[in-house]
């Protein structure tokens, strides 16, 4: 087991390194430079050359890459050109926002998805099952950002139930330092989390319905019923326990989905998380923010897979990891 974990962690680090290298090369090869987009008309080429020299951008790419890796090894992620602050600080501000959003979305995703999936499986082929199945398929097929726009229009613009964007009220609650401001934060969080969570829940429900149906027909479930257990206990304790197993894969898969979906949803709701930071950085050719975001994102994906594999081994005694 220990050997297996060590090997997986080493492989994960290698993957992250490869992603960083690839991103580094691609973003440096991109058209334009960090200093051209806004200053192209007014600044003479000499000044740009001087700034580039100051940041070391005029050196050969492999030298820059070597320096970047050396800084990375000592924990220095570099400096953002556009934000005029260390990349690590910018990331440290953004990560909690994305994390809270992903967590809230995941909660909605699993709570709604599990409930719907189990309900549909128990009432198989009833009107409710068919209607919910089609609704889930439709929601699962929507562009996430479009659902976000629709919710924004109806719930924020027309009904004024929720704020239109941003993580907090800039006038009343610039900082999270009191209880009302914490409530304000969650109030702002609702719509983006709902958007991400509902699209995920639709997929989870489809998945869980199939898993539950497979389990419900097995002999041990019949045995449990024959023992005279109440239906509720049979379904929720005996059946659901095994129907949750394939679910663990979903946890691992949900990570990249939430991060990817978050890129667009964060843009729609002006949510200052990783997705928005990364998109802006790519557009502004803010090289080190892009590579920093790549490190964080790919680490989370790799970590998600690793955790899913470990959970599998813990949850299912039949699965014994190789090298254990």
């Amino acid at each position: 087991m220990v050997v297996w974990v060590v090997r997986r962690v080493a492989a994960s680090i290698a993957i992250v390194w490869a992603v960083v290298t690839l991103t580094f090369i691609l973003i440096h090869a991109a058209r334009g430079s960090p200093f051209l987009p806004e200053s192209s008309q007014s600044v003479d080429p000499e000044t740009i050359a001087r700034i580039k020299n100051q940041f070391g951008l005029d050196r050969p790419l492999w030298v820059q890459y070597g320096l970047y890796l050396r800084n990375l090894a000592s924990g220095n992620l570099g400096q953002s050109f556009a934000l005029r602050r260390p990349v690590a600080d910018a990331l440290a501000d953004a990560i909690p926002h994305t994390f809270v959003l992903a967590l809230a979305a995941l909660l909605i995703d699993f709570a709604v998805g599990l409930a719907l999936g189990v309900y549909q499986a128990v009432r198989e082929r009833s009107v409710g099952d068919i209607v919910l199945g089609n609704v889930a398929l439709f929601v699962n097929s929507m562009p996430t950002f479009w659902l976000g726009l629709a919710l924004l229009l109806v719930l924020a613009q027309w009904l004024h139930w929720f704020p239109a964007g941003g993580p907090n009220d800039p006038v009343l609650c610039p900082r999270l330092d009191s209880f009302p401001c914490l409530l304000d934060f969650f109030w702002h969080l609702t719509l983006p989390a709902l958007t991400l969570g509902l699209v995920g829940a639709a997929g989870t429900a489809r998945f869980e319905r199939a898993a539950m149906l497979e389990v419900i027909r097995q002999d041990y479930v019949r045995t449990a019923r024959a023992k005279g257990l109440r239906e509720r206990r049979v379904l929720l304790v005996h059946a659901l326990r095994n129907a949750l197993l394939p679910f663990i894969t979903l946890v691992g898969l949900a990570f990249p989905f939430l991060l990817t979906g978050a890129v667009l949803v964060e843009t729609v709701y002006a949510w200052p998380g990783m997705g928005q930071l990364a998109v802006k950085a790519i557009l502004q050719r803010d090289y080190y923010v892009v590579t920093g975001a790549a490190i964080v994102t790919s680490s989370m994906v790799v970590l998600g897979n690793l955790i899913a594999d470990l959970l599998y081994a813990v949850a299912d005694p039949r699965i014994r990891v190789r090298g254990a």
């Binding site: 492989a11 290698a14 993957i15 992250v16 490869a18 992603v19 690839l22 991103t23 691609l26 973003i27 090869a29 991109a30 058209r31 068919i130 089609n134 398929l137 439709f138 699962n140 097929s141 929507m142 562009p143 996430t144 950002f145 479009w146 726009l149 629709a150 924004l152 229009l153 613009q157 199939a210 149906l213 497979e214 990249p256 991060l259 990817t260 890129v263 667009l264 843009t267 990364a278 998109v279 790519i282 557009l283 050719r285 892009v290 975001a293 790549a294 994102t297 790919s298 994906v301 790799v302």
Partner: protein, 308 residues
């Protein structure tokens, strides 16, 4: 919309019905075809796909305006749906329905072609990895690990930044190049089990080279999972294209794609919701149809997993 547009639109719907009926008649001759149509969403899904394909092909007939045409920039912006502009006009005074019809060409075309690129690469590399094993396998699968570690939209944004204005064919290739990882894993797993079978050994004993064995004996037997993942993947590509265009990094305006139509309509969402709503609905419908057809295909092609 004049009478001829309505007639053409009706014609597109009838054509779609006829196509689905014809497919159904032919398919029901075989066991897997019957299984396919036993899925309740299979026939409606096929109809939606055939209908939008027909609309895309017949765009000049069903659309009353040219997709770029600004009808009346002074008086006809953000017009709500009327009999003349059945889906309203967008902030640039263009007919939303006409753009939707022409946009179907770009959105469906990108979805299908990019998936074709992805599936071709995925099948070829997956088959190579599974068939040759050893270093080919480990090299390719490590590559796949890396490819799957970065969210696809992030990777696409970085790659698309290589161009100032990306041409649609390039976009297709780029989306395809970032989409083959999962397919190749699937194919590899299938090939790993196939290559130990007797008929492959027989083909090799008859002197067939690796290329011939893979193309003629291995891949046809691994076709089912490839087809299913392709059907499900097209929808994914369409969602990606929409997302990219929404961020202004996809199909360059003014060419209509359903994604950049949403992007165009978004800023005026509060006063003219139709110009962003209808393209979003179109995407959702088509992706839903693709998912339904993909599910039905899985039931049909994999008898081990009977439909539940």
């Amino acid at each position: 919309m004049n009478v001829w547009n309505w007639v053409s639109l009706g014609g597109a719907a009838v054509t779609a019905l006829v196509i689905v009926a014809a497919i159904r008649r032919r398919a029901c001759a075989g066991a897997s075809g019957r299984r396919f149509f036993r899925h309740p969403a299979a026939a409606p899904g096929l109809f939606v796909l055939a209908f939008f394909a027909a609309v895309a092909l017949a765009a000049p007939f069903v659309a009353p305006y040219k997709p770029y045409e600004q009808i009346d920039i002074d008086h006809l912006q953000n017009q709500s749906p009327t009999t003349r502009n059945i889906l309203g006009t967008d902030p640039y005074s263009r007919d939303v329905w006409s753009r939707l019809a022409y946009g179907a060409r770009i959105s469906l075309g990108i979805g299908a072609l990019a998936m074709l690129v992805a599936v071709t690469i995925g099948a070829a590399l997956g088959a190579a990895a599974g068939y040759f094993r050893r270093w080919v396998d480990s090299a390719l699968m490590r590559l796949v690990d890396v490819g799957l570690a970065l969210p696809r939209i992030f990777a696409l944004l970085v790659v698309v930044a290589l161009w100032d204005h990306i041409a649609v064919p390039v976009l297709v290739v780029v989306i395809g190049l970032t989409g083959w990882f999962a397919t190749s894993r699937l194919v590899r797993a299938e090939v790993l089990s196939l290559r130990e079978r007797e008929f492959i050994a027989a083909a090799r004993a008859l002197g067939a080279g690796p290329g011939r064995v893979i193309a003629r004996h291995v891949l046809p037997n691994a076709a089912a999972p490839i087809i299913v993942s392709a059907a499900l993947g097209i929808g994914n590509v369409m969602l990606l294209e929409a997302g990219l265009s929404f961020l202004g990094m996809g199909v360059p305006s003014p060419a209509p794609s359903w994604g950049n139509m949403i992007a165009d309509g978004w800023p005026k969402m509060a006063v003219a919701p139709w110009s962003a709503t209808f393209p979003g609905l179109a995407i959702s419908l088509v992706v839903m149809a693709l998912n339904a057809v993909g599910d039905a295909l899985r039931d049909a092609l994999d008898p081990r997993k009977e439909a539940v």
